[in-house]
Assembly symmetry: C2
Homo-oligomer: 162 residues x 2
DNA sequence: GGAGTGATACTCGGATATCTGGTGTCCGAGTTTTCGCGG
DNA sequence: CCGCGAAAACTCGGACACCAGATATCCGAGTATCACTCC
């Protein structure tokens, strides 16, 4: 079980767009340059976030992406589900209904016990991701970044933001 | 992000081996027949569980697999990690250290905030899976199964178990 | 000087190749059973 | 009838193809900008 790399990229882009402010747009090329990732592939994930309603796109020159809502109203789970999809990691194949003991589906009253446990774990995972927002990550990014890097970042942003 | 189908198979096999008792072994072919899955592929996952120390293998005629410990001492997490691997779903690529703001690694004092959140979610997921054991699943399997199916299953087991 | 207009340049969006990891399969090594034989 | 031994059959274990989904890329549709022209 492996989470797509695009999730990490999308989160970092969300944080950077949070710093760009509610009216500051950044195009795909700039976002890719800042994070050192291939722009063409990053575009795919930004589109997914746009479709999910997390980002707004602005066409034409001086265009780009901006956050569709304040950073404290976008959870980490929102980004993960936008890029990775909303379906749970575990999908019950109902193999208890196969083989020699198989019975008609209507005779199975309760959900498969394995399915229940997996759903609970999945819910716990999502709950944890829902507890953090992009605003929280922005705070963490500032605290964890080296002073020199922050300084360069601020200058870079002043030049890149629209 | 998708969990391998083999995890579901491994859990069902673990439950069935739990019903077989501490000395009752079942070969791959029987386990596959009971669950209606391809035996050759199921073998791959049973081997993984054996390597992880969850199952004991018995060679030769009348051989097969049995649980290496009592069912209440094998957690769902044990099975998941045996088959799916122990590494977390999210792996931080440290892309914050790339691009124009990059600094030497030693200047980054704290862990990437995104990495922290992902690790917490991963831990919550694993904690939840650790709370249930094969013994719990056995109870759930009996309660959730149709009476007719249970009856057939008991007869099948009496004939198949070694 | 100001407004209108056309060309331009830049943006996103979806459709298209490539490649890694899960899916599925096979045959060889090893061990227990079992059958036959001799005492 | 009992013990011994060799062959056989059945088991697991790891090595080998195949395919779906993630990875990576490109070109076309659309729009705000900007320069130029005309009033």
């Amino acid at each position: 079980m492996r989470l797509s790399d695009g999730v990490e990229w999308g989160l970092h882009c969300g944080v950077l767009l949070g710093f760009a402010g509610p009216d500051g747009a950044l195009p795909t090329a700039k976002l890719a340059e800042y994070h050192g990732v291939p722009a063409a592939y990053l575009a795919k994930h930004l589109q997914a976030m746009s479709r999910a309603g997390l980002l707004e796109s602005v066409q034409g020159p001086k265009g780009g992406y901006r956050l569709a809502r304040p950073a404290d109203q976008i959870t980490v789970l929102d980004v993960v589900e936008a890029i990775d999809g909303e379906e749970p990691a575990f999908r019950c194949a109902e193999i208890r209904r196969r083989g020699p003991t198989a019975r008609p589906a209507r005779e199975y009253k309760s959900m498969c016990a394995i399915h229940v446990v997996m759903n609970q774990a999945d819910a716990a995972w999502r709950d944890e991701l829902r507890r953090s927002t992009l605003a929280d990550l922005m705070v963490g990014a500032i605290e964890g970044a080296p002073p020199k890097g922050l300084e360069v970042g601020v200058r870079w942003m002043a030049e890149a933001v629209r």
